[in-house]
């Protein structure tokens, strides 16, 4: 595919910049607005590229599931509102979509889930925040309270995301990165990274307290909340292994909380 790419923006999530190229000034402005502090100047180092092929808006098949599969060494990604390809050997891909921020956001989530799977990391349905230089994850499905807890965060807490957390192993444990993948908070996270201190499984209840969680339950809970889209047996196995490594190294506890700012007194 040949495009006249006149606008370039490097969207840097988790320290993995993806250079997005589009010939539409309007779409470039939309991306700048959407990704804010996650947009950097294009660097000369290793960088992935995505060319955007904008098509007119059409009726979106809302309920069409995302499909991610490897064909001839290239990742083929489709959903009702986009079609995309990415070649991990060249680090280059393209996205065909209408001018909207949701499609490219979906592609970025998929690509990062693929990148992380090779590195022992993952994307997980969890809010995350940094306090006193340490990161905390709050995992749960929709309605568990991720956005509520994020809204209640006191001023000394930096919210990394209220929806999808980005986790990668480091020499001394795990690091959580901020993401622009927002939930109901509708606000991108802080573009920060911090060593991960704990993961809490969110449960709303009549009071605020922390309970221990046995390792098997911890692994099950994290697996349930992992975002992984690809139909790829090898990578699924890698993610499975990563989750068990994670629960062996990061404390996982249950946070029972009532929607009250005092819950943050427990997170230190």
């Amino acid at each position: 595919m040949t495009l006249t790419a006149t606008h370039e923006l490097a969207i840097d999530i988790g320290g993995m910049p993806i250079l997005v190229r589009t010939d539409s000034a309007e779409f470039a402005a939309l991306l700048e607005d959407r990704y804010g502090s996650f947009i950097h100047a294009p660097s000369s180092g290793r960088i992935f590229t995505l060319d955007i092929d904008l098509i007119p808006p059409r009726t979106i098949v809302e309920d069409e599931d995302v499909s991610v599969r490897l064909e001839s060494g290239r990742w083929i990604m489709t959903r009702g509102d986009f079609r995309a390809e990415f070649d991990p050997r060249t680090g280059h891909g393209w996205v065909r979509q209408s001018p909207n921020p949701y499609s490219i956001d979906g592609v970025l989530r998929i690509l990062h889930s693929l990148f992380l799977a090779r590195e022992g990391g993952f994307l997980v349905h969890a809010a995350s925040a940094v306090r006193n230089g340490r990161a905390f994850l709050f995992a749960g499905v929709s309605g568990a309270g991720k956005t509520t807890l994020s809204r209640l965060a006191p001023p000394d807490v930096e919210v990394l995301t209220d929806e999808i957390s980005y986790v990668r192993p480091s020499e001394s444990g795990y690091v959580a990165f901020g993401t622009p993948f927002a939930g109901e908070l509708a606000r991108i996270g802080a573009n920060l990274r911090a060593p991960l201190a704990a993961l809490y499984l969110l449960v709303q209840g009549p009071e605020n307290r922390i309970e221990p969680v046995d390792p098997a339950e911890a692994a099950r809970a994290v697996l349930r909340n992992i975002l992984f889209f690809a139909h790829d047996e090898e990578l699924v196995g890698e993610v499975f292994k990563s989750v068990f490594d994670f629960v062996a190294r990061v404390p996982v506890k249950r946070l029972i909380f009532t929607p009250d700012a005092r819950v943050w007194e427990l997170i230190v």
Partner: protein, 106 residues
């Protein structure tokens, strides 16, 4: 599975499994279904080396869990059928190439 022929079962080598907190967990790499194996399931899983006849596995279940052979066989066949549907257990009337379990240290 017929009762008239010898049946062999084998773990798929594509499957990752972990024992954690005394609980065996395995995931179908095909559809990411997570299975938590109970004690009976764990014995079947460990025994499913492709070389041990199902009859021998059932006999082991009878001894270890003090159950009647017909109950043990029914349980084993149901369990194996479910795992086979997710591509994580192979069933054959011939011995199946030995596959060491990919269980990671817990």
């Amino acid at each position: 599975m017929s009762c008239l022929m010898t049946t062999y079962v084998a773990r798929s080598k594509q499957v990752a499994a972990r024992m954690l907190g005394g609980e065996m967990m395995i995931m179908s790499p095909r559809d990411t279904t997570l299975f938590n194996l109970n004690d009976v399931g764990s014995v079947i899983w460990e025994s499913a080396d492709g070389q041990t006849p199902l009859d021998d596995i059932v006999a082991r279940l009878c001894v270890e869990f003090d159950v009647a052979p017909e109950v043990a066989r029914q349980d084993a066949e149901t369990f194996i059928q479910e795992l086979a549907e997710h591509g994580i257990m192979h069933v054959s009337d011939q011995p199946i190439g030995a596959e060491p379990p990919r269980q990671e240290p817990s």
